[in-house]
Amino acid sequence: MGQILSQIKNGESAVVRAILESSLKVKLMEMGLVEGKKLEILYRAPFGDPIAVDIDGYVLSLRRDEAQLIEVEVQNSATS
């Protein structure tokens, strides 16, 4: 089931499905957010924004607005 990264709960893992068209798309891709990449939401700053995400061992912080550009598929937490 496709979801937007900003909707994922802390501690959940997901796989990047697509980056929505926007001026930030290329920057996000360059920072490693490409299709098929595994993510884990680590924690959110107070007020739920920005969000810290683990991307293959490095931590990226991004605002909710940026997270809304990322379409993901939640991984079954049982398998991870």
């Binding site: 490693g32 920005p50 990226l60 991004l62």
Partner: protein, 649 residues
């Protein structure tokens, strides 16, 4: 030969640069420490080469102001920084993402060296990199591994630099051509293709034996906690200011006393005359006025360097972003604002990492409102002069609290102005925040030491030159006056004293101050006195305001010079005592509580720094912004000081 140092942010480029050149480029555990290129020399087999340290980038295409210099240098063979060879510093613990930039650079067909840095971190995460497999993938690149933090691998890197492999046309991505800087679609396509290719190869290059959870995750639970996060940050700041105040005063008093003694001693051994006066009243107090700031500046930079070196700074950006946004700022604005507490010049420059134009402009415009280290001497002197040294709860010193309050005033007004600017400046684009948060590291004392030392050096040289030059000019203006006005005034004062039957000391004081009043500088001070009188200042303070227009730190030196020239007593007293005993003709002290605090408020707001204005002009590429900045800060200063004086007196 010109060698470029490239790589993702925070991979250790500057560490490698320092390791190779022996220079002391600023290193810190935060992505975006280096915001401009920096050149050094390196000796290889007897030949000297130029090594250029660049800001970190995720690809060769620029996405923010600081990254432009990379594209401009690499993609234009005409550029004066077009390299003959490149060194790409790669974070081994994060290979896949780092390889994007590497493959782009590799395909440029320049001789290329890959430095696999941070090998210790990769090992900690149980990642092993198969160098032979990498070599097969990039047959024309030289590959070495290192740990630049502890200068491991220097020899290997130097050897590799001596024998760059010639390029014969091998490319990682055969049929791909470089996109134009505006062609975002092509760049997206390129990124996609490269990453697909890289990911196919990853399984042969890297093996992860066991997944580990870095210790940083646990620490973060507390440091970015919704409540504790802010609490801790607040406490950290408070502790820093208390420490600066508590620890710096002893060495500062020592320096102050030493220079007063030196002045007295010099005048006692040199023959009386104009030259002696120049030395004892112009040069020595001038130098003393510079050196006295060293303890506080050193402490301030020491703490800032620690915040940065541990990796805490990026957490501060993280928790502050949401709070900064209503002000038209970005979480990343915290770094320029915090650096501006040391000095607005690096602060304004570090705003380059903010990619949104509007957020960047607002940050630049308000950064000089943060109290910089040049204000420290002014604050310190005035606080010691008018604020009693009382202690509450056994550890809260009133003087320290006032200092904290001045910093808070600057910060709050910066936020207030930011909101105003947010309404005024219009843009279509929306700001964003994408920041890597590095793992926590134990601060490397050598890096901290380098930062502190470099900042002190810059301060003593750059600020010192101006301060001493102005001190000397000031001494001249205070010693001489138009035609024989000074002599006439002195003679009159002498007569007046005789009439009143004053003792010798009072006579001398009267004569000295009459002379000063009629010197060139005295006349200037007197001229502006009506303008500053509502703020509670006399003409001597007026003189210091004029002279510190170019740089705030000149204030104390000017005061020292004016009071040294105007001083009559035989032995040299520290400046603060001279100021304390200064009175108006009716006997009320010049430095009353109201006047002192009003002066502090004036210095919180006023834009008295030519160097900052010049940097703002350079960074914004227009005179509009620096002029606007000077204007609004001047108005704030005058109004703020006036209201303060009205309330307190």
């Amino acid at each position: 030969m010109k060698i470029a140092l490239l790589g993702n942010p925070n991979t250790g480029k500057s560490s490698v640069f320092n390791m190779l050149t022996g220079l002391r480029q600023h290193v810190g555990n935060f992505p975006g420490v280096t915001v401009d290129k920096k050149t050094g020399r390196i000796e290889i087999e007897g030949k000297s080469h130029k090594l250029i340290d660049f800001p970190g980038t995720y690809s060769i295409y620029p996405r923010s102001k600081d990254e432009e210099v990379v594209y401009k240098s690499l993609c234009n063979p005409e550029s004066e920084n077009y390299p003959d060879a490149v060194v790409v510093v790669v974070d081994s613990s994060n290979l896949e993402r780092n390889l994007l930039l590497f493959t782009q650079v590799y395909d440029l067909q320049l001789p290329t060296l890959m430095v696999l840095n941070m090998t210790d971190l990769a090992a900690k995460q149980n990642k092993t990199i198969d160098i032979d497999a990498l070599q097969t993938l990039f047959p024309e690149a030289t590959i070495v591994s290192s740990n630049a933090r502890v200068k491991l691998g220097k020899q290997k890197v130097v050897e590799a630099l001596a024998s760059f492999r010639e390029r014969k046309g091998h490319r990682f991505q055969q049929e791909l051509n470089f996109a134009a800087i505006e062609d975002i679609v092509a760049q997206e396509q390129e990124t996609k293709i490269r990453f697909e290719h890289i990911r196919q190869e990853m399984s042969t290059i890297e093996r992860i034996s066991k997944k580990t959870v870095p210790a940083s995750r646990g620490i973060d639970k507390i440091l970015v906690h919704p409540i504790f996060g802010y609490l801790i940050f607040g406490v950290v700041l408070l502790i820093i200011f208390q420490f600066i105040y508590a620890f710096a005063s002893v060495p500062m008093d020592l320096i102050d006393g030493a220079f007063a003694n030196l002045s007295g001693w010099t005048s006692s051994i040199l023959p009386a005359g104009l030259l002696t006066d120049l030395i004892t009243e112009g040069i020595i107090p001038g130098i003393g006025g510079v050196l006295i700031f060293i303890p506080q500046i050193a402490l301030l930079f020491f703490f800032i360097a620690i915040l940065e070196e541990t990796g805490y700074l990026s957490r501060v950006v993280f928790i502050m972003d949401r709070l900064m946004r209503p002000f038209g700022l970005n979480g990343k604005s915290v770094v320029p604002l915090l650096s501006s507490v040391a000095c607005a010049i690096p602060g304004v420059m570090s705003a380059r990492t903010i990619s949104d134009w509007k957020e960047r402009m607002i940050t630049i415009m308000v950064a000089p409102l943060m109290s910089c280290s040049a204000r420290i001497p002014v604050y310190t002197l005035l606080i010691a002069l008018v604020i009693p040294s009382e202690t509450y709860f056994g550890f809260m010193n009133l003087q320290g609290l006032v200092l904290f309050a001045l910093y808070a005033l600057g910060t709050l007004s910066a936020l207030f102005i930011a909101i105003l600017l947010k309404w005024i400046i219009k843009t279509k684009e929306k700001g964003f925040l994408l920041l890597e948060m590095p793992d926590y590291k134990f601060p490397r004392w050598q890096n901290v030491g380098i930062t502190v030392w470099e900042k002190i050096k810059v301060f003593v040289w750059d600020a010192g030159k101006i301060i001493i030059a102005i001190s000397i000019v000031l001494w001249g203006l205070a010693t001489f006056g138009p035609s024989d006005r000074m002599e006439t005034a002195a003679a009159e004062a002498q007569n007046e004293a005789m009439k009143q039957n004053l003792d010798e000391e009072s006579t001398n004081r009267l004569v000295a101050s009459a002379k000063l009043e009629n010197s060139y500088i005295g006349i200037m001070g007197k001229t502006i006195e009506p303008v500053i009188a509502p703020l509670g200042y006399d003409w001597k303070i007026g003189i210091s305001l004029i002279t510190s227009f170019a740089a705030r730190e000149v204030f104390v030196g000017s005061m020292a010079t004016i009071y040294a020239v105007g001083d009559d007593s035989e032995e040299s007293r520290p400046l603060i005592e001279k100021m304390r005993s200064e009175t108006y003709t009716d006997g009320t002290p010049v430095f009353s509580l109201a006047a002192g605090v009003s002066l502090m408020v004036f210095y919180v707001f006023a834009m008295q720094c030519m160097a900052t204005l010049a940097v703002v002009k350079r960074e914004t590429k227009s005179w509009k912004w620096p002029l606007l900045q000077m204007g609004y800060m001047g108005i704030l200063a005058y109004l703020g000081a006036w209201i303060t004086f009205l309330i307190l007196s």
